[in-house]
């Protein structure tokens, strides 16, 4: 189950991150291979969102080492002030990492098409026609081609989240991060978003998903990471983690989703 660092697309070693009110991530290490779909589960406040935000450098790590593709970022501690070079690498990593947020965060002043086109236009300096063609391709992939001219406020939650995925994909990222992508959705809309992620997995996209969708995590993930109190408690293949959790904390967490100690296959569902 443990990936070797040299074979992995993403390497995280001894990542530490804290805010004014305390440590959030403690010595987190994880390697992720290209094409993997990894789900991160855990109680709220356990640091899973912060982990994702550190991975794409929306939050700068306090100490540790991150590698995404060939881009390496390391910091010895909070006393090391971020310099120009460090910020430049962080920026480059962000260009290689796509991020999808719980509340989609579409740009309300732009149409769906403009949302998807914006970054390729501005960051990659594509020509307008080129960017538009490119964007429509991704909108088609998420089934929103007919919604290109609509404004985000007119979309349903599922459509909004799929548009946000298309927007992230349009930058051709090496890896996609999802921060509870379905938590803000009505139950009947969850499926369409999860389906997009499954399709991407089939195409070989590397994806890391922070989620409470236990069934999805179990069925679709290559492996699942359980985090608690800022640490990775255990990680394993979905079926193994759900049926034979080694750590009592994992067992305790999973019980909340089943109401019983016996975590049987298929018994875990989210809502």
């Amino acid at each position: 189950m443990v990936n070797k660092a040299e074979e992995s697309l993403i390497v995280i070693e001894n990542l530490n991150k804290g805010f004014e009110d305390g440590e959030v991530l403690k010595d987190v290490s994880l390697n992720i291979k290209e094409g993997d779909l990894v789900s991160i589960i855990g109680p709220s406040g356990c640091g899973k969102s912060t982990f994702l935000r550190c991975l794409n450098c929306l939050e700068l790590l306090d100490s540790g080492y991150i590698r995404v593709g060939e881009r390496e970022l390391s910091r010895s501690g909070r006393e090391q002030k971020p310099d120009e070079r460090m910020l430049q690498i962080a920026h480059e990593i962000r260009c290689d990492v796509g991020m999808v947020f719980q509340s989609y965060n579409l740009f309300p002043h732009k149409t769906v098409l403009q949302n998807v086109m914006l970054a390729p236009l501005v960051v990659k300096k594509l020509k307008k026609e080129e960017a538009e063609e490119h964007a429509l391709l991704f909108l088609e992939k998420v089934g929103l081609k007919g919604f290109a001219g609509k404004y985000p406020s007119t979309l349903s939650g599922g459509q909004g989240q799929r548009a946000a995925i298309a927007r992230a994909l349009a930058m051709n990222p090496k890896v996609m991060l999802y921060d509870e992508p379905t938590s803000a959705l009505d139950p009947e809309l969850v499926g369409e978003v999860l389906q997009v992620m499954k399709d991407l997995d089939r195409e070989g996209m590397t994806q890391i998903i922070v989620t409470h969708e236990m069934k999805f995590a179990r069925d679709a993930s290559d492996y699942i990471v359980f985090m608690d109190k800022g640490e990775i408690v255990e990680y394993d293949d979905g079926d193994i983690l759900f049926t034979q959790p080694k750590n009592p904390r994992t067992r305790e967490f999973l019980r909340h989703f089943t109401g019983t100690d016996a975590v049987g296959a298929g018994a875990v569902n989210v809502r």
Binding site: N56, C57, L58, E84, L87, Q88, A90, H91, R94, C95, V97, G98, M99, F101, S103, Y104, N105, L106, F107, P108, H109, L118, A119, V122, V123, Y151, P152, S153, R167, A168, M171
Partner: protein, 524 residues
């Protein structure tokens, strides 16, 4: 590109429109032009809008200037300025000469040269008809006395001591206050007294003539040639009897003048000008007459409204652009620049805009920066309002959820790109309503430009109201005009608010503090 040109064309046109009056005002006078400065607000009988035709400037000094210019073979061009700013305006080279009851005093003579006097008069004390306490100047001790701001009369009252002095800018207001009991007495140059109260049954003149006042034409110290020309013309006008004729027509020939010029001959021509004045100021005008008169004000108010709008729109354009720069500097720039922006905002908000305008118009020329009244007004108001707009923008930026900023950064945009493409366009929508509100308040503040020689709506109101002793009707008219100008902007603000309401369904988390923007990542 074509589209840009198309879009810019009306803008350029507007700019030309705005610049035209400003340029005309600063343009160096061609040889045959004589620019003369005065204040027509409440300026009877010196210079004032003709009650029968408010577009025409009349007055005994207007007649004198016309005769002067004719003799000097020049074309007179009138430039209006507040009376207590006439000398500063002259020093600013805003006009070639100033003539408006300017008294030859030592203080004035220090900064400008005076021609030979063209008129000599005295101070006249006036009280209410039933008043018996005050029979001469000395009786004014312990009383409330009104007079013209910064005039010889004010000096006389100050020397008397123990007098509660109220200074006025508009003469008519003083006599109105005397009549309604706010003042015990009014002390003015005799011509003003005659034209303000000489025919008013509720007011009487008391005491002997007080002091001697000489009116002369003011010319800058360096313009000696012009001074000589003016003196030569005045001597000619005096000796040929042309001045005497003017004073007769305005009923201003007095025993003092007779002894001064050694001319004791009886009146030579009818006092038609004075009679006209009395005629138009007889009380109890019929409703119809009143309405006809008000209709006649419309062209004057129309022109003044254009001035008000030009100044306001230009000032707002400056405020919007500069305000944006200030806000961005405050939120994103390095610490020192950010502090500079904070300092600017606090300074501009913390000092009166009136002082700022005075400083820009009369102060800056001392360091070589000369602005036309239009640009001084527009820039002064613009600089002031920029401080307020900056705060609005800052609020607007923080009103956009920080998640938008994160989403843009996560897409690989730099801080500047995120700002330009995502934050600012949204912030602009948020700030449109408050900025529109500010524009409406700027529209009203633009009345301050009247102190730097511009005839805007407020100044036009003052001039007309003082000329007719009627602050009521013109007041309603000018209020309605201000409202009408502001109305489209009020509606626009409402519309923008509604549009915003429709779009603002996304985004729940409010923005973070400025440190979030400052630290969260890099710029390009």
């Amino acid at each position: 590109m074509k589209r840009i040109i198309k879009a810019l064309a009306p803008l350029a046109l507007c700019l030309c429109l705005f610049c035209a009056p400003a340029l005309a005002a600063v343009a160096n006078a061609e040889p045959e032009i004589l620019r003369w400065g005065g204040d027509s607000e409440g300026g009877f009988p010196y210079m004032f809008p003709n009650p029968e035709n408010p577009d025409e400037l009349i007055g005994f000094e207007v007649d004198i200037v016309n005769e002067l210019a004719a003799y000097m073979n020049r074309k007179p061009v009138y430039i209006n300025n507040a009376w207590d700013n006439l000398i500063p305006g002259l020093l600013r080279d805003f006009y070639d000469i100033s003539i408006n009851g300017l008294e030859v005093t030592p203080e004035h003579e220090e900064v400008v040269n005076f021609s030979i006097p063209y008129y000599k008069t005295f101070l006249q004390l006036a009280v209410r008809k039933e008043n018996t306490d005050i029979e001469e100047l000395a009786d004014c001790k312990g009383k409330v006395v009104g007079t013209l701001k910064e005039s010889y009369a004010q000096m006389v009252l100050e020397e008397l001591g123990n007098v509660e002095i109220r200074t006025y800018i508009v003469e008519a207001n003083t006599y109105e206050d005397l009549q309604n009991g706010r003042l015990d007495a009014a002390l003015f140059d005799s011509p003003i007294a005659i034209y303000s109260a000489g025919f008013n049954p509720a007011i009487k003149f008391v005491g002997k003539p007080i002091g001697e006042i000489e009116y002369a034409v003011a010319v800058t110290k360096k313009n000696k040639k012009l001074l000589a020309e003016v003196n030569e013309a005045l001597v000619y006008l005096r000796d040929s009897g042309k001045l005497r004729e003017i004073y007769d027509r305005w009923a201003l020939w007095s025993p003092l003048m007779a002894s001064e010029w050694g001319d004791y001959s009886p009146r030579r021509v009818e006092s038609d000008r004075y009679n006209n004045w009395v005629e138009t100021h007889r009380p109890a005008l019929s409703m119809g007459e009143r309405m006809t008169r008000y209709l006649g004000f419309l062209p004057t108010f129309g022109r003044a409204a254009v001035v008000t709008m030009q100044v306001s729109i230009t000032a707002m354009a400056i405020a919007i652009v500069l305000g944006l720069a200030l806000a961005i500097a405050r939120v994103f720039a390095p610490r020192w620049l950010s502090l500079l922006s904070v300092g600017y905002v606090e300074f501009m908000r913390g000092t009166p805009v009136l002082i700022q305008l005075f400083f820009i118009f009369y102060g800056l020329p001392s360091v070589g920066i000369k602005l036309s009244p239009f640009w001084a007004g527009a820039i002064g108001l613009g600089l002031n309002y920029a401080a307020y707009e900056a705060e609005i923008y800052r609020g607007g930026l923080f009103a956009i959820p920080s998640t938008q900023w994160e989403a843009a950064l996560a897409l690989g945009m730099t801080r500047w790109q995120s700002m330009r493409e995502v934050m600012l366009p949204q912030a602009v929508r948020v700030v449109i309503p408050p900025i529109t509100n500010d524009f409406i308040s700027l529209l009203k503040d633009s009345s301050l430009v009247s102190i730097i020689t511009m005839v805007d709506l407020t100044k036009a109101y003052g001039q007309l109201a003082a000329t007719y002793y009627d602050y009521f009707g013109p007041g309603i008219m000018v209020a309605v005009i201000y409202l009408l100008i502001g109305l489209p902007f009020v509606r626009f603000s409402r519309y923008a608010e509604q549009r915003l309401g429709e779009q603002d369904k996304d985004g729940s988390k409010k923005g973070r503090g400025r440190n979030f923007y400052r630290t969260s990542t890099r710029w390009h």
